[in-house]
């Protein structure tokens, strides 16, 4: 455990000196919290009861009888952007692990590291946790800022409760970390094959595409993300993570990496 901790602390000491990584860990969560808060702020009292009937049908699924049309629209808009909180656990680990693994390649620090009695599992666990923990912390922080801000901006407790629906809590607190794990493992596998941190980062960024498809799918009214769908997604990610952890330890072959990496 001490070796894993050593790797985690070493990674943080190294990667957080990189401005790009700092930007993604600090600025991105603030941005993700600010956008839905701005929507809440801008849509306060902006809709009359007459306009309610003109809203798309999918909006109605977000509304209850106690909500006015304006409040209902607020809940709908913010619910759309809740999916954006899932970008953080995908994007942040890829930025960190792209630099931490390929950084070892380019600075030729991996061979001395592999010459120590560290196991491949300890090394990968250290590197994965170093990418995973800041991503989860940033997601939770971002969601915390959003929750606090919406509590301050929304006078009606029913609206606030509708926004804090359990499906979003499951998404943020369960699906988020599972998505981070997907991102880390994909980064490890990509990093084992490419030599440029930017290439690894760009390839890992493609992971966001399915998430954007879900976002636009819900936005267009093709489907509505409910609690069952979120739980099914979490189970699916759990399975994917187990497969990816196995694959990444297989791809990370000490000998191949030492003799092939130039």
């Amino acid at each position: 455990m001490k070796k894993v901790q050593t790797i985690v602390l070493k990674e943080w000491a190294e990667v957080f000196r990189n401005r790009m990584v700092l930007f993604s860990v600090i600025f991105l969560p603030l941005l993700m919290a600010a956008i839905p808060l701005a929507i809440i702020f801008a849509s306060r009292g902006s809709m009359t009861s007459e306009q309610y009937g003109e809203m798309p049908a999918q909006v109605e699924t977000f509304c209850s009888a106690e909500l006015s049309s304006g409040e209902c629209f607020q809940v709908y808009m913010v619910s759309q952007f809740m999916l954006m909180f899932m970008i953080l656990p995908l994007a942040i680990p890829s930025t960190i692990s792209a630099y931490s693994i390929i950084g070892e390649k380019t600075s030729r620090t991996l061979e001395p590291l592999l010459a120590t009695p560290i196991t491949t599992f300890e090394l990968l666990a250290g590197k994965s946790l170093a990418a995973l923990l800041p991503a989860i912390a940033a997601t939770y922080l971002s969601f915390g800022i959003f929750s606090l801000g919406s509590w301050l901006l929304i006078p009606n407790p029913t609206v606030f409760a509708a926004m804090m629906d359990p499906r979003w809590l499951i998404a943020v607190f369960l699906v988020g970390p599972l998505l981070s794990l997907v991102s880390v493992n994909v980064s490890v596998m990509i990093s084992s094959r490419v030599t440029d941190p930017r290439a690894a980062e760009q390839l890992t960024a493609l992971l966001v595409v399915p998430l954007l498809a879900i976002f636009f799918g819900q936005f267009a009214g093709f489907f509505v993300i409910n609690r069952e769908l979120v739980l099914a997604g979490a189970l699916f990610l759990l399975l994917i993570d187990a497969i990816l952890i196995f694959l990444s330890t297989q791809v990370f072959q000490r000998e191949t990496i030492l003799t092939r990496w130039k």
Partner: protein, 321 residues
């Protein structure tokens, strides 16, 4: 301390190391010489359990490569071709990482010991990016020593260093030898190998020769004694060449060059003969070939004469005696 038996490494169709069999004794500084791409680094990586052999066997510090890799990694220190330091981190933190990974009992104490020993203590909190090449190399050596390994693999420890830094590193290696550590030294610096190594191996995918630097010179060139004479002439040379223990005698730039096996006991007879023939002897000295000449001949010929045999030059044609 290190034993290999037919150790072989193949990468696809490329044979990097072919049937390497050698033994390195405890406390020995063993030089491993060879041209670029000869397979030296691959050999070190196999012996340090970083990569596995394709065939053959190696025992390092009593542990078998491929079977007891963890024990090998705990008991050996490796200085890789490039220092491989975390440039953004301080010298002290660089060492502390490795002290933890090697599970050193007193990490802070060991880090301080080696930083002081190598003259880096005052700059311990500075990022290594600000260090000179020599300082980085010293820090990398300190990193390899933190867990007090009995066997050290040093891959080109003085490559790219200025003469002063190289001297410092060489002195430190000599100090490590005095401590009784076994050192496996890969180097291109033949003068360094000559000065530091008890034995050297010349390697080019396969082992060409292993011996002490001195015996290698004798095996490659024989022993030669130079007599500086005030009045050399061909008759004197002919008489010396006729002595039964002399392999060859010739005049080179007015100096008499004599090849023989045992100059310590035979030189007085040669001197007597020369004086009897009226020669005025100014100086007598042994002609010493550099290890570079030995090395170049070996890697170009890919072969070595058996012990006791010597190459001699007769009429400019190289012949085996």
């Amino acid at each position: 301390m290190i034993q290999t038996e037919n150790l072989t490494k193949q990468f696809g169709s490329t044979l990097a190391v072919e049937r390497l069999t050698l033994t390195v004794e405890q406390g020995e500084v063993f030089g491993f010489l060879g041209p670029n791409g000869a397979g030296k680094t691959t050999t070190v990586r196999m012996l340090a359990s970083l990569i596995s052999p394709t065939q053959g066997r190696a025992i390092v510090n009593g542990f078998e490569v491929g079977k007891q890799d963890d024990q090998i990694r705990r008991s050996v220190g490796v200085l890789t071709e490039t220092p491989g330091l975390y440039d953004n981190l301080s010298a002290e933190y660089n060492l502390r990482i490795f002290a933890n990974l090697y599970e050193v009992r007193d990490p802070a104490g060991q880090v301080e010991k080696y930083l002081r020993m190598l003259g880096l203590w005052e700059r311990r909190f500075e990022p290594t990016a600000t260090f000179s090449k020599g300082m980085k190399q010293k820090l990398a050596i300190a990193r390899a020593l933190l867990h007090e390994p009995k066997v050290l693999f040093l891959d080109e420890p003085t490559a790219g260093l200025d003469p002063e830094s190289a001297r410092l590193v060489r002195d430190f290696i000599a100090e490590l030898r005095r401590e009784g550590r076994t050192i496996f030294l890969c180097t291109h610096n033949l003068d360094e190998a000559d000065r530091l190594c008890d034995r050297i191996a010349v390697f080019k995918t396969r082992l060409l020769v292993v011996d002490t630097p001195e015996r290698l010179r004798q095996r490659m060139f024989g022993r030669k004694v130079v007599f500086h004479l005030r009045n050399p002439d061909e008759i004197m040379v002919a008489k010396i060449a006729g002595l039964p223990f002399v392999s060859e005698a010739r005049l080179v730039d007015g100096r008499l060059l004599v090849t023989l096996d045992d100059p310590e006991s035979r030189n007085p007879e040669i001197v007597r003969q020369l004086v009897m023939d009226g020669a005025e002897i100014q100086f007598v000295g042994e002609l010493r070939y550099s290890l570079e000449e030995v090395y170049l001949r070996l890697v170009r010929n890919d072969s070595v004469p058996a012990d006791g045999a010597a190459f001699v030059l007769k009429n400019g044609v190289e012949k085996k005696k």
